[in-house]
Every structure is written in structure tokens, then in C-alpha cells.
Amino acid sequence: MVMGLMMISLAVLLAGSGLCLLPGGPAGGNTSRTGVITGVAGAVPAIIAALVVLETGTAVSLRLPWPVPFGSFYVAVDPLSAFFILTISLVCALAAVYGTAYLDAYRAGKNLGPAWAFFNLLFASMLLVVISRNGLLFLVAWETMSLSSFFLVMFEHEKQEVRLAGWVYLVAAHAGQACLMFLFVFLGRQSGTLDFDAFTVPPGAAAAGVLFLLAVAGFGAKAGFLPLHVWLPDAHPAAPSHVSAVMSGVMIKTGIYGLVRIISLLGMPAQWWGWTLILVGAVSGVMGVLFALAQHDIKRLLAYHSVENIGIISLGLGLWLLGVSTGHPALAALGLMGGLLHVINHAVFKSLLFFGAGAVAHAAGTRNMDVMGGLAKRMPRTALAFGIGSAAICGLPPFNGFVSEFLIYLAAFGLITGAGVPGGPMAGGLIVLAALGLIGGLAAACFAKVFGIVFLGEPRTPQAAEAHEAPAAMRFSMITLAVLCIALGLAAPLAVRLVLPAAGQLLDSAQVSAVSLMAGGLLWKISWGGFAFIAVSGFLWGLRRRLLTGRVNTTGPTWDCGYAAPDSRMQYTASSFAWPVIDMFKWIIRPKLRVSVGQDFFPRRAGLSSHSSDPFRRNLFDPLFRAVSELARRTHVLQQGRNQLYVLYIAVTVLVLLLVKVK
């Protein structure tokens, strides 16, 4: 039944994709309706299938002949796949609903058919990625996913910056894909087949280590590990907001899925694997949030936060590998469960934040936070949902982000106190602890800035002052996710049940259930703490209301130390708010300041602007690609466009090969 549901889901999505491309469309030219109906109809059976597998804990597989060398249409749904299917389907369905209203603004100028066709294709290909059990099928699904998301990024291809972002994304996606091809060719050459369950890795550690590094590079490029993250801050802002939510919320998680899946096939992990993921996670997490702080573009900022959260997930996975390889299975289970739980938590709050950013950018006519302000009064529902998402992404209780970070903290503290010998796992725990602590403080600073500058205070432009609330479909998706942020935070022990089967599959299941009992008890305490916070807040709110009734309650202008003519331009902006922190870390971020001050005694205009470009882009990839293009230019002499010359090359090559053979 599970497989049937998955096939129905894929069929509906592919059919929907085709229907959206029909000229005129079946629904009287309204491709949005076709797109959202097939998108949601495709999500429902997939969600049911995932829940069935998570509940029963049994894997289901299907193998069909596929007339391609080494290929077989071999798919399976096990708890790990089911967990990702659930996450993907949930976010994609809500994004489709959001997209109907969001894309309305483009209806006059654009044919929405391709946008919806590629959206459904992206959804279907992500599902296929997490159920494929054959290397070739996996790579086909992976490439379909990359290409369909590329076309979605290029939605507004008439803008130059969008074309550039799409190009960078295409290059990054294929650099990653190249690593994956090597990975599967190596695996396949040793096992004689490309089916996952037939992969055998010889006990020689070197081969497994190379495969692990290939997986980290290949899947890391999709997930956004530093320094392979450079495509994210370009591609996420360029795509329409519901697509950004899908790409950031779930598509980059297919990289995490692939990494976990391949690691599970490689046998006993070496200790340095764990170290690699912890270091990658710590660097991605801290640098991601630092770069985020320096951004003025709200969607670009959110894209950098994805790098940060992928870093947190990687810290959890690193503790998993470190725990397994050093003989701390209980702590390994905690790390793994924390990492996986953060996958769904991040999917929930990051899609919510991208939805909110889309609504805001739409209403204010810009993505530049510095010219927004006061939007909470104009769009209260969006503000409420975005506020909840902001607190959740900072890992603040009682919201969901805290729960997964808490599990990772527990694993780290377990390693610190229980590992005994310093230098080994204990140092790993300390790095995770310090990184998480720093990330937590920086993220709170960053989202205080986003929420405070965008939604609070006075509007800084006339357009922000006339902003309008988002349409009902967009609000529905945001409110649903906001409710999930609270529910997953308060019902943490139940949320952990989503990742338990997957953890049980990857680790000794007896150990996992023991840990889950322990963690469950702890997480109930967290829940009680959350409920206590809400109850106390409610009590204090009531007390305040009661004390204030019947007294003189007035309103007036902000006091502002008695200044009589406040102006909305005097408020702190996103740049000025973040500046002290950026200044503190300027040796990493290297922001550029442009100051213009008048030289005469009565200067009229003075200006200050700051800009932070990505140092990895600037110092690593730009020189690299310049070198590649220089090399291409040099070899250009060989390519003159004359057919006779090419025939000569062929003849010379054949001759050389012949001589080599004869000799």
C-alpha cells in the first residue's frame, strides 16, 4: 500500500506538471489552480505513506526492470526516507498554496505554466531522490531536481542579477553532481552493481574515507556547507518566494539525506569522519550567521541562515559519527536525533520565514530591510507568524528550534562529562558547545534586527506606510507553519517520535530506544518549562490588564529623550543595529564602508553605506573561475571553426593511438 501511495503521488505530480504546460490549460487558463490542486493532491498520499512507514517501522521496496545499463527502477521507503518524504511533502504542499496567491502579481506579464510545471517536477524529483535505491536512478532524480529548481530560479530571467544567480547555481549544482558521479562509479565498480543494498565497501579504511569525502563534497554542495555555499545567497533571493522556501526549507536537505544514506552504506565510520562534520558544521554555522548579520536584503539574509542551520545539523551528525566511532552509542543517538530533528524544524521555520519575506517584499516593493519599518500595523498576521518563526530560528524556547539544539547540546555535554580522556571526543563536544553558543547569540541578534527593523517602529518610506496584508492563501501557509513551530516545541517528546524510527535504522535500535526513553523524559521537562512560561505570561498579562483598568491610560509620541520632532529616518536601521557586532567580527566579514562627508563648513549631504560581499566568492571562487576561463581562452587557438582542421585533429589522434598500439 505504501508503495502504491508513493506511485500515485509521483504520477499525480508528473501529470500535474504536464497539464500545466498545456497551452491555455484545462482550468480555463488558470494554471495556478491546476498547479496547486495537483501539488496538494500529490502531497497527501506521500504524507500518508510516510506516516504509515514511520508508525510501523517496516521498509517497503519495489523493483522494476529499466532498460538502461546498470540501471534498475529500484525504489524503497524505509523510516529514513519516510522522514524526509514527510518533510518535503509538507513544505511543498504549503508552498503550492502560498504560490497561488504569490504568483498572481505576475499573471499579467508572464505565462505561469512553466513555473508550475517545474514546481511539481521539483517536488516529484525530490521524492524520487529520497526513495531511489539505484545509483543511476538516484543521479537522474538528482539532476532533474537540480534542473527544475534552476528553471524556477530563472523565473524572472529578464533581470540580469537573476540570470547571474541562475548561472552560479547551475555551475555549483553540476560541480556537486560530478563528485556524486565519481562516488557512485567507485561504489559500483567495487560491487558490480549500482543498487544501494548491494554496495560493498572493502574493510580497507582508505577507500571508505575517499568515498566519505566525495559524499561530503557532492552532497555538501547541495546542502550548502561552507565554502560550497556560494550559490545559496544568490539563488534564494532570485527565485520566487514559495520556491525559495522549498529550496531552502527542503531541497538543500536532500544533501543531508544523501550524506546520511551514503554514510550508512560505508560501514563503521572512522573517528576523523566525525571530526570533519563537526568542523564543517562549526565553520558553516558560525560564518553563515555572521554573513547573515551583514546583509540588508531580507531574502539574502535568510539564505545565509540556511548555511548556519545546515551547520547545526552537521554538528549533530558529526557527534553521531564521533559517538559511534569512539564507543558512545547513546550520545551518538542523541546527536543523530538532534540533527535529524533539526532537519524538520528548520524546514518548518525557514519556509515560514521565506513566506513572510515574500509577503513583506511584495507589500513594501523592495527586499531592502533598511527602507521598511512599521509593517506590523499594516500586516499583523504576517508579523505574528514571522515573529514566531524568528524566535524559533534563534532556538528560543518554547519554540521548536530549541528542542533539536537541546538534543545536540545534551550529546555534547554527554561527551564532555562522560568521555573521560581529554583530546578525543571531549574536545569534539567542547567545539560543538562553543559553536552552538556563539551561533545562538548571533542568531538572536540577527533576528532581533530583522523583526525589529522590518515590522516595528515607523515606516521609512511611503510605500512601506501603504503596505497591505498578504492574501488569504499566503496567510494560511504562514499561520499553519507558525502553529507547527509552537506545536513541535511544546510537544517535543512527540516530535522526537518522527525521527526515532530513522535513528533506530541507523544505529543499534535497543540503544536508541533506551536513549529515547531518557530523552523523552527530559523533553517532557522542556515541555513543562514551555507550558510554565506560557502560563506565567498569561497570568502576568491578566494582572497587567487588571491593574490598568480604571486608570488613566493615554497615548502620545515616543518620548525620545524629549526630542520634539522625531522623524522616521532617525530610527536605527538594520545596518546600524548590526554594526557593533559586525565591527567586532570585521576580521572575518571584511565589510566595505563608503563614507561621503561634505568638506565645507555647512555640509549639506553626508552619506554612509556598507556592503559585505562573500569572501569565499571573492577570494576563492572568482579567482578559480577566472583561471579556468583564462585557460579556456588559451586553448582557444586549437578551435578555429574550420572543419578541415578538426578532421586533421581526428586523423592525428587516430595515428598516435595506432602508433601506441603497435609499439
Binding site: 547569540g441 525589529g452 502576568l540 509620541p557 515616543t558 546600524s576 543595529f577
Partner: protein, 301 residues
């Protein structure tokens, strides 16, 4: 049961800590100073007032003091003192406590930004800047104590401190105590980080963030601030006075006396030095971080 008495002490006596600090400063300056119970009178007076809200503000501004006080109240329940555990204790509870304090800070900061005032924006910006460093010192300090005692809850750590204080942890716990003192001064907006007695200077942090709050809201904020001071003073005292007699009531009295001694110490520090230049505050916090790392190295030696 006794831990509930602990909590009640915190709830009742925390405003007195502020009074003790003020009185200490007055004595050193040669003034008579305000009555010891003045903070209580202030709270009562504020609770009786009506409200004035800026037309710029939204619900966030009204929710800020409520949510931040609630978060601090829940955080205080986890604090052990005088050999007794917190009311609410579990493995990793200090992470929860640190993040609850983070929540309190977050709502205070966004409530400040809600006024649209440049001054409050300045305070908010500085608050988050210093909090980043302070939070790391707090977590690393607790990690050192966790390694030293092998425990992962505040109650467990502080319960074992007096056993292991003489041996393994010894000097490390004093180093952590020093770092915690700096964190106490930072998190509670005391000199040399911030001056609680001035409101209008552009250099202020916490006071400038609550400029537009009045009446009941301001009472909530001041009570929350007093509780937060109690919380940090209790964490510091547990480290600095790791002696137990075994008699619960006596231990409790010693510990409470220690908390008030911490307040007197704060009064001495505030009388003895000036506020640092803002640019130097991060340097002081990084020094605290260095001290914590030193204690970590000691414990791992």
C-alpha cells in the same frame, strides 16, 4: 520542599539586593542613602500608576515586559542554592536556563525597537552585541563545572561542588567564579559595563532600552532585573563559598548571606571604578572568556 523555600526567598528578597547595592554605594560615598526597602516602594508605586503608550508601538511593546519577566521567573526555578537543588531540575537544565534568559533579552530588545526611537535602538544594538560574548562565557563556564563534577544539571553540579572543590576543581572553580562575576556585571547592566543610575546618556544600554516603559510595565521590568541579579549572584555564591555544614537551614543562611555579600561586592566595584568606554567592554568580556578557557585548560591538564 526546602528548595521551594529557596525559590520563595528569591522571589521575596531579590529587590532587597538592589537596595543593598544602593546603600553600599551611598555609604562609600559618604551619603546616608535611600532606605534599604526603597526598591519595594518603587515597585508598589509603579504598580499603582496608569499607562502612557507611544502611538508608534504595537502589542510587542506591551508583551515585552510580561514575557521577559515570565522567562526570568521560570529560569529562577532551576537555580540551586545553599546545597539545595532547584525546584525544577533535569540534565541540561542550564542550557534551558541560558536560553530562557536569551528569550527575555530577545523580547526586551524587540520591544525597545518597537518605539522607533534612535536611543532605544542604540541600547538594543549594544545589548545584543554584549550578550553574544556573555552567553558563550556562561556556557563554557558551566561546561568547565560539568567536566569537573561529571554532572549535567545545575543541581547536580552545585551539589557536588563542595565535595570536589578541594581536589580537582579547586583553582578552576575560582577562575570560573571570576568570569561569572564579570558576566553578572554585564548581564545586569552594572558598572563598568553600564550605569544603572543614568538614563539619558547615549552610552547607556539597559536603561535606555526601557525609556518608554512606565507604570506596571516598568515594575515588571525592574522586578525581572532584580530576579536576574539574584540568579547570577546565586550561581556566583555557590562557586565562591563551596562550604557546607550539612545542616540545611544553616547552609541556606550562609548561602543567602553570600548572595547579599555579592551585592555588597557589586556596590564596592561600582564605587571604585568608572564605566568603561563602550569599545572596551567587548575586550573585558573576551578577557572573561580567556579566564574561562584557562580554567578549562586547568581542568583538562
Amino acid at each position: 520542599m526546602t528548595s521551594i523555600i529557596n525559590l520563595l526567598l528569591a522571589l521575596m528578597l531579590s529587590p532587597l539586593l538592589i537596595g543593598v547595592i544602593n546603600r553600599t554605594k551611598a555609604k562609600i560615598a559618604g551619603r546616608r542613602g535611600q532606605p534599604l526597602l526603597q526598591p519595594y516602594h518603587d515597585l508598589v508605586k509603579l504598580m499603582k500608576k496608569g499607562s502612557v503608550y507611544s502611538t508608534t508601538t504595537t502589542r510587542v511593546f506591551r508583551l515585552g515586559p510580561v514575557a521577559s519577566l515570565a522567562a526570568v521567573l521560570v529560569a529562577v526555578t532551576m537555580v540551586p542554592s545553599g546545597g539545595m537543588g532547584g525546584v525544577f531540575s533535569f540534565a541540561g537544565d542550564f542550557v534551558f536556563m541560558a536560553y530562557l534568559l536569551g528569550l527575555a533579552r530577545f523580547v526586551t530588545v524587540i520591544a525597545a525597537l518597537d518605539t522607533g526611537s534612535a536611543f532605544e535602538g542604540m541600547g538594543a544594538s549594544r545589548e545584543v552585541q554584549f550578550a553574544i560574548l556573555a552567553e558563550i562565557v556562561l556556557l563554557l563556564g558551566l561546561a568547565v563545572l560539568a567536566i569537573g563534577t561529571g554532572e549535567t544539571s545545575l543541581t547536580g553540579i552545585y551539589g557536588k561542588l563542595w565535595v570536589s572543590a578541594a581536589s580537582a576543581l579547586g583553582p578552576a572553580s575560582l577562575l570560573v567564579a571570576f568570569a561569572f562575576l564579570i558576566i553578572l556585571l554585564t548581564e545586569n547592566a552594572r558598572i563598568p559595563v553600564d550605569d544603572p543610575n543614568t538614563h539619558l546618556e547615549l552610552t547607556m544600554i539597559h536603561e535606555v532600552m526601557v525609556l518608554d516603559h512606565g507604570g506596571v510595565d516598568l515594575a515588571f521590568i525592574q522586578y525581572g532585573a532584580a530576579l536576574k541579579l539574584w540568579l547570577f549572584a546565586a550561581l556566583l555564591t555557590g562557586l565562591a563559598i563551596p562550604f557546607r555544614t550539612g545542616i540545611v537551614s544553616l547552609d541556606m543562611m550562609v548561602n543567602t548571606a553570600g548572595i547579599f555579600a555579592a551585592a555588597i561586592l557589586v556596590g564596592f566595584i561600582e564605587s571604585g571604578m568608572a564605566r568603561l568606554r563602550l569599545l572596551n567592554v567587548p575586550q573585558m568580556l573576551i578577557a572573561a572568556l580567556a579566564v574561562t578557557v584557562a580554567s578549562l585548560l586547568w581542568i583538562l591538564r
